[in-house]
Subunit: 208 residues, 3 copies
């Protein structure tokens, strides 16, 4: 997979994340401006948190402000076509899964480029893939779905670990990246299809 | 408008934001220490988030710790004079509007000084003007008012756009800044007076 | 107290914070992966926020990824031994108090090493000691306990002020640190023992 294809997938993922965030905003009856802002924060927040944690400046949307425009347009499109999106539910779930692995791999690449230790690279990849959704849920006043939903962050971490492990083993860059993304995507779609869960930890006493 | 006047307006705005944040803290029955902290976070959080997003160090309150003192004193004053503040409701709404445009313009100035692209300058101005209130609402466990309230973030963005657009057109710095602030203030007060709203996006289905 | 002892106390505190965070995660029925993530965010979040506010890179867990491993192992241990932890309630409250003062002093040391002004050093110490718990509560969709609970952030600030004040007075480094930690620990345990509160600010009108 060339870097150009990865970038196009990234732009598609940014759009898809902004569109699904817009529906979350609509469930909270946000106004159009709020919808656009939540779309930007969700779609670009994971990468922003990654860059802030690593001290990697400038942030992607600061260097490339057109990313804000893409997220705003996508979120506003979702307002208009919300009913139509329902019929494409399966498409958006796949796009979300693609976004998860694409964000993960791009996050790993940023950390690799800074020469970070390999465990940090994998964790940073996972943060890039998932933190935008955490921001969305916090701003919508929900307990983040990420901490409760099966095989989402874990899929991201597995994809990152395959990628990082393959590079550490001296395997060539592009094929390893492609395999990591394919495995992550397959895991995520399998989890969706068969509704796979991680075990929950349910604790009801309050003594703190 | 000279920089000295802008700085005085900034200090007034910091105080006013800390005072209204104290009332929000009181609605959650926070203790006095919590009130002081929420005052600081609300009044100084917008600028802090701006600086973190831009990698602009040191943060304003790190360079000028007296800002923390101002916010703490303002928040504690609000505890004592809460009943009195109710009678000054209109004054505080005006001060909040002044703070919105002052924070916006100051945020733009920081981004301009770093040579950021103009769309980023406008967005950063809006973040400076509004993010403190988002932090306040998240810490009070509310969906941020910003995403639901009419003509608040949008006023900030319009003021920032006028400022940035005027500078890009080669107009002189101080008059453009004054016009941007005046337009923003007029928009915000008009919105308050006539209870103007942006259209909301209400979406009730849950399929994600 | 040597730096080696301080570091061991730090690792114990990281483990204890991750374990109590795991119980908070269990109250929200998070899955195991979410428990591990909340453990890491709570135990390492205060230091991360400190470093981000100061522009102090790399963050501690980026420089020392084994900290992530400690927090994950501690959180998973808490899942298995949750029932056993209940019997050790007093131990964990003491460990939490130790963590509060240890995190505070370490945060002060980082800020001192950067040559920050002394009021900032004290505030940064308090942020290091308390911000991880704020992140935990926000992610669990609660109003942060910190803003409502008696003598927690204030204990941290008193310990930081003693430490900073002693250094400013020219007293020797290690004894001052030891005294600051001892006073903070005594205050916190006294507050727990006698259920001491700060006055609350209760405000019920909604006019914002």
């Amino acid at each position: 997979m060339s870097d150009g294809v990865l970038h196009i997938l990234y732009l598609i993922a940014v759009s898809a994340e902004a569109m699904t965030a817009a529906l979350a905003a609509g469930r909270r009856s946000m106004d159009w401006f709020g919808v656009a802002m939540l779309g930007c924060i969700t779609a670009l927040g994971g990468g922003s948190i990654r860059d802030i944690l690593l001290g990697h400046y400038p942030l992607s949307w600061v260097a490339n402000p057109y990313l804000l425009l893409i997220a705003v347009v996508a979120a506003c499109t979702a307002i208009v076509f919300a009913r139509f999106m329902e019929k494409l539910r399966a498409v958006f779930l796949v796009l979300d899964a693609v976004g998860l692995v694409v964000f993960t791999v791009i996050g790993c690449n940023i950390a690799l480029g800074m020469g970070q230790p390999l465990p940090v690279v994998a964790v940073v990849g996972m943060i890039t893939g998932t933190a935008g959704g955490v921001l969305r849920d916090v701003l919508c006043n929900d307990v983040p779905l990420l901490f409760r939903r099966e095989l989402y962050a874990s899929v991201s971490l597995v994809a990152a670990a395959i990628y990082v492990g393959g590079l550490a083993a001296g395997l060539p860059h592009h094929p390893v990246m492609l395999v990591a993304m394919a495995v992550g995507l397959a895991m995520r779609l399998t989890a969706l299809r068969y509704n796979l869960h991680m075990p929950q930890f349910v604790y009801t006493r309050d003594w703190h």
